[in-house]
Symmetry: none
Subunit: 217 residues, 2 copies
DNA sequence: ATTTATATAAGTCACTTGCCGTATATCTCG
DNA sequence: CGAGATATACGGCAAGTGACTTATATAAAT
């Protein structure tokens, strides 16, 4: 059974270089390539059996970090390995936050890249020792992580927060209505307004967003 | 120029096993061994040119984490690689906090261990892919550490965990079915089984329980 | 060899949820 | 004062969800 891989990079020569590196390995099959994050997101919708994506970071239209976040949200089972020239703390940290499963620099040798793909498929994380050291340092330094990514301020009313809190406990519309002595219709309307403000479309997404924005817990 | 290595482990047989593994490599020189953290701290004072320490965690008198902290404070230039049977989140996190430069499990093969020693000397970090994945997950969610209470073990199958992970991202039955190339009916059945095992009755409750039990992040 | 657990697929039924409306009363801010 | 935001309540509809049942195939355990 071959491993289906996609390669995303805005530089055609570098895509070629990666394909050359992987061409030695019989069980690697290149499913598609793309030259920016947006194109990657488009193409991934049409493919249902890509297992691993090799993702550049610096690209026009949409960068590799954003693309990683989007693809990981829609297809958590797809493994994404960053393949980039950037090795600064910020790039590494953001890629990991976005859900990257591995991180190599572009000068990586073919065997290491191939081994990394296999390890990643088996649930491990692939990275060069220098990147691994960066992650350890980031893990030791709590300040890096506390850096609040300021999302645009969302103003929820006290009632909406109240509803959100109950929602996050797993209560249904009806139970929340009983608890707050309101009509279930009203609860539903509040939740609709919450969805609009947080730009989400389900309870679970709303709870995730609310936690990310420190609205609850 | 040989690499001076020290091996710390309370089990004489395991020390022997490590020495055997490294005996293949001509440029490794074993400077000393010790059977607990206290003895390691003592011996390191008398040696001024140890470059790498292979450190067990579970030991009498003083464990490997504490010893790592003390030695790293006094001799920051010495590289310490954990070599242990423990691969739980807490051990990995504490070892890194203590200043460990690498983390291998005891079943590591000789070549990987040797490569790890070289990489560590060159400023990288050495670890198996599974440990690397743990560090990434810890970086994404530092709060994982705050779980001490062990709830009665719940045995979910790998498929169920897979479904649970996608569920926690807010995906619907249909999207999960597409991602895993299964029928939506099957997804629903898996979710029913998950509910029964976790004793919950909704997605949100299942996600909460799963997080509490460290089944998912 | 039989049981048990797992993975898969399918169906029904009642209820929930997400999204689209409408409507009224209150309150605040400019 | 009047516009806009808020809180409240109600209705419809399509899709999603949770709780049942049935069924087959396979692998692991006893």
């Amino acid at each position: 059974m071959k491993i289906n891989v996609a390669v995303i990079d805005d530089n055609a020569f570098l895509i070629k270089a990666v394909l050359d590196k992987l061409s030695f390995f019989e069980d690697i099959h290149i499913k598609f390539t793309a030259v920016d994050g947006a194109m990657a997101c488009e193409k991934i919708k049409e493919e249902n059996n890509v297992q691993v994506i090799l993702m550049d970071i610096e690209m026009p239209k949409m960068n590799g970090i954003q693309a990683t976040e989007i693809i990981k949200n829609l297809h958590p089972q797809i493994k994404i390995i960053m393949l980039t020239v950037l090795d600064n703390d910020e790039s590494v940290f953001k890629a990991i936050q976005a859900g990257a499963d591995g991180y190599f620099l572009k000068e990586v040798d073919p065997q290491t890249l191939y081994d990394g793909i296999l390890q990643t498929i088996n649930g491990g994380a692939a990275m060069t020792p220098s990147i691994a050291m960066k992650t350890l340092k980031l893990l030791r330094n709590p300040l890096v992580m506390e850096r609040e990514v300021q999302l645009d301020e969302v103003q929820l009313t006290s009632r909406e927060v109240e509803v959100l809190e109950q929602l996050s406990k797993g209560l249904t519309y009806h139970l929340i209505a009983e608890n707050l002595v309101l009509s279930p219709f009203t609860i539903r309307k509040h939740i609709e307004n919450i969805y609009r403000k947080l730009q989400v479309h389900s309870k679970i997404e709303a709870i995730q967003q609310a936690k990310k924005r420190n609205i609850i817990e």
